[in-house]
Symmetry: C2
Subunit: 203 residues, 2 copies
């Protein structure tokens, strides 16, 4: 979904094999470094050292720091596609379908860590915030789209986002109790009616 | 509400006068430094330099870095009291009362900046996260308390928190549109029914 160096050169980074492993190690190290020290406070050589790779490999895979940042802000593969697929569910249960899709991703601890790093980086860097804003808006809007009146679609997507972001923050980032300990099914039961009201309720 | 060095020595920092100004300058500089570099990545001398004060003054006002962190995580004065006062409103409109109280605080740009720094610091430091968690839980729980059955009170407060945190993130931290541009009255109209369902709805 994001246009990056990697999108322009498909096949350069494979999901498997030595190349994919190196790129993944760089991204993982970069997320940690950007989260801890901010974008401007992080150098490519510090990322290379943390990833235990030659700094030249960062340039090879990601072109520059900006290119690497964009990849760090990318959601785990499949998220956007899965969320957008929720828009295929009947409108009267779309709130629940959206939430179930998001929860399936978040319950993966690796994703939760990525989500946390994205929030941190975005809160520190306007450049990252803009990227995240666009991504979030298009994912949620994509997940809600079909069958909604054009006028209210963005407002409805914004309201849905406000509840979804809050659940993610409370449960996975802040780990507020009892939100953190509810089963995924309980979260869906308690929160879905809210999302459904935002999707097709009368305001 | 937080127990800090300052609570133990009331009067040491006044809201007005040279002493209060110096302490406020230190806290403001510390919030910026902690947000940008994390708790462990920030030194007292860097904070002193940013605040343009002698490092000895930090020890004088805040004892140590931990003491200063705790003050940085404190919500702006009056927030807790105002939110808890919402619990005095009739239960059938308590969702709206809570949200109106929170929005009044957030619409102050200074508070929005403090809120952003608290989120950042907390996301980076477990110590800060714990503090924030306790504070948030007690403030929201305090604002919801009266007239609710004991059993569901914490769950209801957690659900309320999940929506309130999400509105704050979407509107004031991420500035997602159209959430960021709604009038406070529109936010109250769209979101209050959700909060009210969490306060007294049937699950």
């Amino acid at each position: 979904m994001l246009k990056t160096k990697m999108d322009e050169t498909p096949g350069k980074r494979g999901p498997r094999g030595a190349r994919g492993d190196v790129a993944a190690a760089i991204v993982s190290a970069a997320r940690t470094q950007f989260s801890a020290h901010g974008y401007s406070g992080t150098t490519l050589s510090a990322i290379a050292a943390a990833a235990k790779v030659d700094p030249a490999l960062i340039a090879y895979y990601f072109k520059n720091k900006r290119g690497l940042l964009e990849v760090c802000l990318e959601p785990p593969s499949g998220l956007a596609e899965n969320v957008v697929a929720s828009s295929g569910s009947p409108i009267e249960s779309r709130g629940r379908a959206l939430l179930e899709t998001m929860l399936r991703q978040w319950e993966n601890p690796e994703f939760a860590e990525v989500f946390r790093s994205i929030i941190l980086i975005a809160a520190q860097e306007e450049i990252a915030m803009k990227r995240l804003r666009g991504m979030f808006a298009s994912v949620i809007l994509g997940g809600m789209a079909a069958g909604l009146d054009e006028d209210a679609r963005e407002l409805r997507a914004g309201l849905v986002s406000s509840q979804i972001i809050g659940v993610a923050m409370a449960r996975y980032v802040w780990k507020l109790e009892p939100m953190a300990s509810l089963s995924p099914g309980q979260v869906v039961d308690y929160i879905s009616p809210t999302l459904q009201r935002y999707v097709d309720g009368n305001f």
